[in-house]
């Protein structure tokens, strides 16, 4: 059975087991490896993608459930919030091993997309589903605040 969906703005067609989790379809069949496998049970957030803008754990989302929908992976993250998050991540040297960071960034970008000025409690709530074994949490918090500040800052003159 062929499943049609949009991935990072492009129409794609997948001829796979409809029960296959979106994660493995993305990684093994669309060859986009930025989205990571961490647990397979929606417990760690490493596989987070946006489906129609909503942060979603792709490891438990059957590919059949995203037919006709729009999927954004770390490779296609282009929203202002997403770019501000990535910029802050690099500026603060958030990543260590880096493996969970695609998922962290997708969660943070979704948070800032919906709530441009989150409180610490908002950040705790939005990010509690993303595990980082390197414990980069201090810098993740700081980078989200920095990205929020950049998003809220007045635009430079002329732009």
């Amino acid at each position: 059975m062929s499943i049609k969906l949009t991935v990072n703005g492009e129409s794609r067609e997948l001829d796979v087991d409809p029960d296959m989790p979106l994660l493995w379809a993305i990684r093994d069949h669309l060859e986009l490896s930025g989205t990571k496998f961490g647990c397979g049970m929606a417990l760690c957030g490493a596989c987070t993608v946006h489906i129609d803008g909503q942060p979603t754990r792709s490891c438990v989302t059957p590919v059949s459930a995203v037919a006709g929908k729009s999927v954004t992976t770390i490779e296609g993250l282009a929203t202002p919030a997403g770019q501000a998050v990535q910029k802050a991540w690099i500026a603060l040297d958030v990543p260590q091993c880096g493996y969970c960071q695609s998922g962290q960034i997708m969660s943070a970008a979704a948070l800032l997309g919906a709530n441009p000025q989150p409180s610490d409690a908002d950040i705790d709530a939005a990010m509690s589903g993303n595990i980082c074994r390197c414990g980069t949490y201090v810098r993740i918090r700081a980078a989200i605040h920095e990205a929020a500040a950049a998003l809220g800052a007045p635009k430079p003159a002329g732009s």
Binding site: V16, D17, M20, P21, W24, R27, D28, H29, E31, S33, G34, T35, K36, F37, G38, C39, G40, M41, L43, C44, A46, T73, I74, E75, Q86, W89, I90, D93, V94, P95, Q96, C97, G98, Y99, C100, Q101, S102, I105, D120, I123, D124, A125, M127, S128, G129, N130, I131, C132, R133, C134, G135, T136, Y137, V138, R139, I140, R141
Partner: protein, 757 residues
Amino acid sequence: MYVRYLEEASRVSGSGHRSEPTRGAALTRRQFLELTTLAGSGLTLGVLLPGCGSAGPGGGTAAGPAAPLEMPFLRIAPDNTVTVIAKHLEAGQGVWTGLPAIVAEELDASWQQMRVESAPAKAPLYQNNAFVPLGVHAQFTGGSTAIANSWQQLRTAGATARAMLVAAAAQQWGVPTAEVTVSEGVVAHAPSGRKASLGELAGSAAQQPVPANVTLKEPGSFRIIGREKLPRLDARAKSTGTQQYAIDVRLPGMMTAVIARPPRFGGKVKSFDAAKAKAVAGVVDVVEIPRGVAVVARDMWSAKKGREALSVDWDESGAEKRGTTQLMKEYRALARGKQALTVAQAGDADGALTHAVHRVRGEFEFPYLAHAPMEPLTAVCSLGPDKCEIWAGCQMQTPDQAAAAAITGLKPEQVFIYTLAAGGTFGRRATPDSDFVSEVTSIAKATGGKYPVRLIWTREDDITGGRYRPLNYHRVEAGIGKDGKVAWRQRIVGQSIVIGTAFEAVLVKNGIDPNAVGGNAAEEYDLDHVHVSWNAPKVGVPVLWWRSVENTHTAYSKEVIIDELAQAAGEDPVAFRLKLLGKHPRHVGALKLVAEKAGWDQPFPKEKGRGRGVAVHESFGTVVAQVAEVTVKGDSITVDRVVCAVDCGIAVTPDVVKAQMQSAIAFGLSAALLGKITLTDGHVDQTNFHQYQVLRLPDMPRAVEVYIVPSSNPPSGVGEPGTPPIAPAVANAVRAATGVRLHTLPFDLAAARRANA
């Protein structure tokens, strides 16, 4: 093709951008590998590769031939990039930034031109020098040794390259070498106004003789080493999803495998029926290997479904069938017995304890712990008739190479290991029997090398797969005599990590495994009367080094009991420790710094449920002191603030040092508050992160402050030493807040209240 893949996958750059693959005269990894001859057991500094310095046709600029300068630890390319060849695994600890920083310093390069890539598996060229004094000539990353063992080697490599660039410039410009300067990657002769980049001079430099001796900089003139914020070379790739890990490797025709392993440790395959597994769409092979039965498929989903359909009959006659409740009961009984190996002895601990005026005792229980790196164990193998290629986040290249050679019947030099960034390790990828590398090689062999194969462990495989931090039981009694002298008696019961492995001959002395008992009170405090002993029970649960190893438990009982002793004597916990650290000036320095930064001399607010605690510990040559502030509400513990002071000698990359302290604090808190692997009748009870809980963002203290003790000593490690002090610092803070003594990990305040009652 595979080589090109590796080059692209492992190369990251100083500006944060992936660099273009080097072209023209640059060697491929494979050529490099083949050309580089073993240079004995020396440190192989500044050895040029044969034939690498000649000018290519049509090459050449005003400054000389357009060719690279190729050395074992660095390559300067005509495009003006400087690539450091990293012999150590980057698993998050920051060696892809720290190692290039050392080279860049002595080379006087600019940080923007620095790149890094993994070295091939090649000992002794890329051996870990920290273990050479023990007679070990192996390439591996562990024991927080990467920066320390590379320090002289990479400084010399950078200075050697610099001297050759200067000589090349002097020759071309016809000026004295003494008048040639290098700064921020620019070679210059001020009197004539001539300038050239490192890349422009690389080809000529390669034709210069290698100087026998080079002068290294005085630490006072460092401008990259010690820079407060030196951007990580891997931050951009790791913030854009482009960093390649073993799990991301794609080779033409590659298949994916998962393994059905015995449900109990020590079990073996009796027989299996592959019919249903083979009926799953996408499954291509089902093969038996020494560790179980592998299901090989077109993709991961098919492999998993195939494994679910597989039927295996296990021989459990030799399997471990005890549970952790029973094991702990046996450990307690062992601790009560007289038979044990003496680890440390001085004075008369028994006598002094009998007459002590203040006395405390404690029984400590530490669970098995899984490492649970976020990238589950993964390796790719492509096996040909005369060659075996492996892609993995390898921590122990030399043993892994030997293991793959033994399995395939090839020579070690026919095994090519391409080390990729690892998605965490914390010790898990350093296995004496090369577990996941052996497994993937066994699958490639069993399937006749007909396709490259990628092995993926699922999270369940990882959590239930053993190689844990060992279960431990400590019984400690400590006292203070009328003369003020401290007596200490301790029994440690816990499995040996290294006995029975190739590391036994190197590490074990008089039957004592330092990885089971090191970091105990006798090593860290000036004690007049001390007796530490050890029982090493034989248990079939495989154990392994886990970030900071034995210090995860020895530091805990030491720092909790010393704190309780201070309390019993009515003394301040910091002042009491300082009295016992006369022979440990670096402990004193770290403790005083953390006390100052935490405001220890200021009274702590007397709010209900709030408390602060301190701990100090040396491991891997680095001393770390921490103060934790907590709030206890009911039976729930919140860590509000952690102040950390670290003495790691010269801090090569201070921001990475700080990141490692933050990381180690999170890792240690995870174990203190949540981590526990238990077994029932030999079956692991936890399978995934819903049961094996780890620290999440809301549990991370709001404030984590890290201060580095100024030092001119050579650098020591920072990957592990931040872990040991945090659990006892928090326990001491909880006791200050509530009076409850926490002697069982992970913390269960309700259970501890009952035990204390």
